[in-house]
């Protein structure tokens, strides 16, 4: 694996109010990946992003952008980072075009109208380029903020809840855009409350809860590792109760006695399925159908967050 584009080391933040928003977070972001940061409200996602972007000062810890400290090489680091903040805050009276051009200049890039035209077109905003920001809808504003963040051609893009308040169609467009950006080599770190968004887009997922990163893994590995599989057995004849002979499998009876459910770990050496099926036939219990299903990222997430709080 090549060097990480972003290294976060022992990052802590205690706000002036005494809130411990981050408790020693370590995280490496790989070049060119899409990393999704998941966590409930107040977990510390925005705090983490704001520290990396220079908006919040950490209590301790360090961030390396391409191996360089982000404070002593702040110009180097910040030229490479674009941020779409969670809150929609824009200059109300400026036109879309001027706002985006302003951002490009602010980040030290010479004027390049062709490039700005291109991002506005890619974000379907070009026909609005002369409108004042205050006349845009929420979704348009969000896209204008993305255009601002992309205006200086950053290598790393932070999207703090990019699809909050965005309709379904636009969300699909946003996902497509993010994938295209990744294809062009941009590293993307996004936070979201929508598990399906992480599931759909991310290469890796980090779960943060109460200021601690409680899991970081490839999305598929995380699902496989944490993933419980469930075997559903649809019975031919309903049962009144779970026969005591099945107690060692911890099966549950549902659907008015028509279905047995067995949860197992798909990675364990013995899943227990074969012996369960044998025992069922010994008992003369017949079944019409069998199906397995794997827990989604959402179920994993809920378990992680609640498991961590116990």
């Amino acid at each position: 694996m090549s060097d990480p584009i972003l290294s976060i080391r022992g990052l802590r933040k205690t706000y002036g109010t005494g809130v411990d928003a981050l408790k020693s977070v370590d995280l490496d972001i790989r070049r060119g990946e899409i990393f999704a940061l998941l966590g409930p409200n107040g977990a510390g996602k925005t705090t983490l992003i704001n520290i990396v972007c220079g908006i919040v000062t950490p209590s301790s810890g360090e961030v390396l952008v391409d191996g360089r400290n982000w404070q002593s090489n702040y110009r180097y680091a910040r030229e490479r980072i674009g941020l779409v903040p969670q809150e929609l805050t824009t200059e109300a009276f400026e036109s879309v075009w001027n706002t985006v051009s302003f951002s490009r200049g602010l980040f030290g890039r010479p004027r390049n109208n062709a490039y700005i035209e291109d991002i506005l077109k890619r974000l379907s905003l070009f026909d609005k380029c002369n409108s004042e920001m205050r006349f845009l809808s929420g979704g348009m504003k969000r896209r204008a903020m993305i255009a601002k963040a992309l205006s200086h051609e950053p290598a790393i893009l932070f999207l703090d809840e990019p699809t909050a308040g965005v309709d379904v169609e636009l969300r699909r467009d946003m996902w497509d855009l993010v994938r295209k950006l990744r294809a062009d080599g941009t590293t993307i770190i996004l936070t979201t409350h929508y598990i399906e968004e992480a599931e759909e887009m991310a290469d890796r997922v980090g779960v943060i809860s109460k200021g601690e990163l409680i899991a970081v893994d490839e999305k598929h590995d995380l699902m496989a590792k944490m993933g419980k599989k469930t075997l559903d057995i649809v019975l031919a004849e309903p049962l009144a109760s779970v026969p005591p002979e099945l107690s060692e499998w911890n099966v549950e009876l549902g659907d008015n006695g028509h279905q047995l459910t067995y949860q197992f770990d798909s990675h364990a050496e013995r899943t227990g399925i074969a012996s369960l099926m044998r025992r069922l036939s010994d008992l003369g219990i017949t079944y019409k159908d069998l199906s397995t299903h794997q827990s989604s990222l959402e179920e994993i997430f809920v378990e992680l967050v609640h498991g961590g709080s116990k």
């Binding site: 972007c53 805050t89 302003f102 602010l106 980040f107």
Partner: protein
């Protein structure tokens, strides 16, 4: 050096000024012009001369500066306070721009506005009052220096302020009285002690005196003292702003 960044902020601030030209240029010019009309045409003939200068002409530099103080503080404080208020400051804080460059851009734009305002005000005054400028280069240098000092002061207020009231309170409560008591309408020499000595502790006395000297070659305090006080205001405010940026005071959590 992020020259594009400085230029972007400067242009942005000037564009904001042009959008609100009525409020930021025309209104203050009209307000000041009213003083010239009242004192110059209506009352002036009944007032005695000050230091050999007609009263109407005498008050032009001081009143022009009063307007420059107010607009400098207002423009510079608003320029940085408003992004703090709306949250758009995130972009400045995350940009590859040093605090020195940011201050240069914000304060540079505010100084430009103040200098334009002063020149338009003085030009308007000539319609009603016989104004003459004996030392035009010194006048411009004083004007730029004084504007820079008060714009830096305004910038610091903008960083410090946590609501709109705090933004207004210092110009209204401190600068206006100090200007009225600082010889905008009279020569400090005309005062008797101890008021005269007390008045000399008011930095605005020195600032107005130097500026007025560049018009009529008459001054309440030596010109070098006016230069020193102007430079001291600039240096003092720069030190405060440097400290604010270094510690992140009211800008960063």
């Amino acid at each position: 050096m992020n020259g594009h960044g400085i230029a972007a902020i400067y242009r942005f601030e000037m564009a904001r000024w042009k959008r609100t030209l009525w409020q930021s240029l025309i209104t203050p010019v009209i307000t000041t012009a009213l003083y010239f009309v009242v004192f110059g045409s209506a009352l002036g003939s009944r007032m005695s001369t000050m230091d050999g200068v007609s009263f109407a002409a005498f008050i032009v530099p001081g009143l022009t500066l009063l307007s420059v103080f107010m607009q400098s503080i207002f423009n510079a404080s608003f320029g940085i306070y408003f992004p703090k208020f709306t949250g758009t400051i995130y972009e400045l804080l995350s940009a590859p721009i040093s605090s020195f460059e940011a201050v240069l851009a914000y304060v540079g734009a505010a100084v430009t506005k103040s200098v334009i305002l002063a020149l338009v005000t003085i030009a308007t005054a000539t319609i009603f009052v016989p104004v003459h400028i004996n030392h035009p280069i010194a006048m411009i240098l004083f004007l730029v220096g004084i504007s820079a000092g008060f714009c830096l002061f305004g910038f610091a207020i903008g960083v410090w302020a946590q609501n709109f009231e705090q933004l207004q309170i210092i110009p209204m409560l401190i600068i206006t009285p100090l200007t009225f008591l600082g010889g905008a309408f009279y020569s400090v020499k005309a005062l008797h002690d101890p008021f005269r000595t007390i008045t000399l502790f008011n930095p605005i006395v020195h600032v107005i005196s130097g500026f007025r000297w560049s018009f009529y070659s008459v001054a309440d305090v030596p010109v070098w003292s006016s230069v020193l006080v102007t430079l001291a205001i600039i240096a003092g405010c720069m030190a405060v702003i440097a400290w604010m940026f270094r510690t992140g005071y009211r800008l960063k959590q």
